[in-house]
């Protein structure tokens, strides 16, 4: 804390800083960042609940919710092969697919499936990570320290596995379905949360307010539930949000390989998979436009996570 403030103060006192304290270039083009990363984060943290930040966040969350609730709510589209492979036009902004179905509607439905699977997989993997990390963090440095090392070696081991290959194996053995996709992503991705939760618990155990509580005679359970849980949950929530785009990516990759979701529950990956041969025939829109939506969806979730980061870190 004190160090960060000193860095901010020094930034104002740098003699070579040139034009004002812009920090873009100093002196003869010597670039020096304006503030320490911590200071920038804090500034952003203030902005989240500031007018502009909150407005954007609400907007984005609104759009994501709309995609979740409304996308693909309509009746299943009937095939009309006289209208197949129509390029994008005002009537069909995303064009039509091989069966003459409107691709915008299919893409929205796919985005909804992708987002749902991403949320479910990220939630499940975080739950596992919270459990393992919490267990490891609460027994480390105590009588059960061996359990901590065993769990952390397990984390290392899972990290050392090729995730997609393992995901393919799991889906192949369980049979392609929404559940097996969620399971395969969750089983290969819980380690990040576990690491974060454990580190947070260890850091908090040494924190002043925890030592004070212990000194005042608080029981272990009291400390855990009143002092640790809130902080750890905030961090775990951030990790979960950050996991969502990754989970979406894995789901779409599995679907693209023909192992994930099938046509009756098409995700964005399924739609792109079905457009592979179309690309070779010169029909670019069925692959490119849903893919762009996938990129935007991931970026949007990243963006939310970046806004959440200062909040969750600031609370700790």
């Amino acid at each position: 804390m004190a160090e960060e403030w000193r860095a901010v103060r020094d930034a104002h006192a740098r003699p070579w800083m040139g034009r004002g304290e812009k920090g873009r270039t100093a002196g003869r083009g010597m670039p020096i960042p304006r503030r320490s990363p911590g200071a920038t984060n804090r500034a952003a943290g203030g902005k989240v609940f500031g007018a502009a930040g909150a407005w954007w966040l609400l907007c984005l969350v609104g759009v994501l919710t709309a995609v979740l609730l409304l996308g693909g709510g309509g009746p299943a589209q009937t095939a009309d092969f006289t209208r197949s492979w129509l390029p994008p036009s005002p009537g069909h902004p995303f064009g039509t697919d091989h069966a003459g179905r409107d691709l915008l509607e299919r893409t929205l439905a796919g985005a909804r499936v992708s987002l749902l699977v991403g949320l479910a997989a990220a939630g499940t993997s975080s739950a596992i990570g919270l459990l393992v990390g919490g267990l490891a963090g609460s027994v480390a440095h105590r009588a059960g320290g061996w359990l901590d090392s065993v769990l952390m070696r397990l984390v290392d081991a899972v990290n050392a596995l090729p995730h997609l290959v393992l995901g393919i194996v799991i889906v192949a053995l369980l049979g392609p379905s929404l559940t097996s996709v969620v399971i395969s992503v969750a089983l290969t991705h819980w380690t990040t949360t576990a690491r974060i939760v454990r580190a947070e618990m260890l850091a908090l155990t040494g924190a002043g307010f925890v030592e004070a509580a212990v000194g005042a005679g608080a029981s272990r359970w009291w400390v855990l539930s009143r002092h640790l849980l809130g902080h750890v949950l905030a961090r775990a929530l951030l990790a979960t949000v950050l996991m969502v785009p990754h989970a979406i990516m894995h789901e779409s990759a599995l679907s693209f390989l023909g192992l994930g979701l099938q046509d009756d529950r098409a995700s964005l990956g399924t739609i792109i998979e079905q457009s592979r041969s179309a690309v070779l025939a010169g029909h670019w829109w069925p692959a490119v436009l849903p893919g762009l939506v996938l990129v935007l969806l991931s970026l949007a979730v990243y963006w939310v996570a970046e806004r959440l980061r200062p909040v969750s870190v600031g609370r700790s």
Partner: protein, 350 residues
């Protein structure tokens, strides 16, 4: 003699005998690292394959089909039923032990989907996959270093922000989609490059130039999909190093700007780059799987998908084991490289 000078002499004579001891200590810690990983590897492989066999048994997955492949479809009912009963009695642990027994004697089993011994399948495909991944790394790492260092030494400028936003978007783009966009643009719309495969259909043997032409798109797409991770980590590390006291001190001593950037800003960024190289190895394999499928590249990764779709258990198990070995050894290589780049590491825990 003045005490200060004495101290100095003392320090020099202290340093001399301990100088050769230093590398020895580092050697020992390197040996421990290598040994630890090599001991971890069999445990990891045993655990993963055991989990696979257990999963295969508890899953809605027909062991007869797994054992016989498509021959099971042409067999009559009673024979199938008796086989199913016999196979059902064998526990996952026994199957697992039998499989490892075979593997250790050099028998990887036969691939039911490709109708060939698994070892032969792996042998002819391994080189294609390793070549693809190595070429992509050779392209992505220097490019990521350059781009990251270029943006990182210009923090907050328009160039930095444009590069950062571009890299983030690239990070959010799935490799298979990048591949399809590449095929559409360069192969279909403009017709510059072939759409897939590793050799032309007309060629009866692999011609180096022909293979090179076919490799341009897959290698570039794989490199592009990995580039953001390398470039972003270099950019952030460079920016942090620029704000650090070493740079401030060097600037105060009047060291030229170019030298500061090279020695104090970009050099420290090599450390996180090496780390991310190791950590991202599983994702490189993920990218290779997707790129190989999109471009019909004849490597191992595309065989994974084929074997998974057809429940070709022997091939699936062999590829899982192989890719695990690659990741563990790659991580070990990254850790060793880390010691080369940062000499402090070996000493600290030695």
């Amino acid at each position: 003699m003045e005490p200060a000078l004495l101290d100095q002499r003392q320090a020099v004579s202290d340093a001399r005998p301990s100088a050769p001891a230093r590398p020895r200590r580092a050697d020992r810690s390197v040996a421990r690292l290598v040994l630890g990983r090599l001991l971890l590897l069999p445990l990891l492989l045993a655990g993963v394959t055991l989990a696979m066999f257990a999963l295969a048994q508890s899953a809605p997955f027909d062991p007869v089909v797994a054992a016989l492949g498509e021959r099971a479809l042409t067999m009559d009912g009673p024979t199938l039923a008796s086989m199913r009963e016999r196979l059902g009695e064998v526990s996952a642990l026994q199957q697992w032990a039998a499989w490892w027994g075979n593997v250790l004697t050099g028998d990887l089993g036969a691939s039911t989907s490709l109708r060939r011994p698994v070892a032969a399948v792996l042998a002819e495909r391994l080189l294609w996959t390793l070549g693809l991944m190595a070429a992509a790394l050779l392209l992505a790492v220097p490019l990521g270093l350059l781009l990251g260092a270029w943006a990182g030494t210009r923090p907050g400028t328009l160039a930095d922000r444009v590069v950062g936003a571009g890299l983030l978007s690239l990070q959010a783009a799935p490799p298979f989609w990048l591949g399809l966009v590449g095929i559409w643009l360069f192969a279909v719309a403009w017709g510059w490059l072939p759409t897939g495969g590793a050799t032309s259909l007309s060629a009866d043997r692999a011609q180096p130039l022909d293979v090179l032409r076919h490799a341009v798109l897959p290698v570039s797409v794989l490199a592009l999909s990995q580039l953001p991770w390398y470039a972003l980590v270099v950019r952030d590390a460079t920016r942090d190093a620029l704000a650090g006291p070493a740079v401030r001190g060097a600037w105060a001593r009047g060291i030229p700007r170019r030298q500061i950037l090279r020695a104090h800003a970009v050099r420290p960024a090599l450390l996180p780059l090496v780390t991310v190289l190791g950590v991202r190895l599983p994702e490189l394999i993920t990218g290779a799987v997707l790129v190989e499928v999109v471009f019909s590249w004849p490597g191992i990764a595309s065989a994974v998908v084929e074997s998974a779709l057809r429940l070709d258990f022997a091939l699936l198990a062999a590829i899982t084991v192989l890719s695990t070995i690659i990741v563990v050894l790659g991580n070990l290589a990254a850790d060793l490289l880390y010691r080369v780049v940062d000499p402090r590491v070996g000493e600290r825990d030695g």
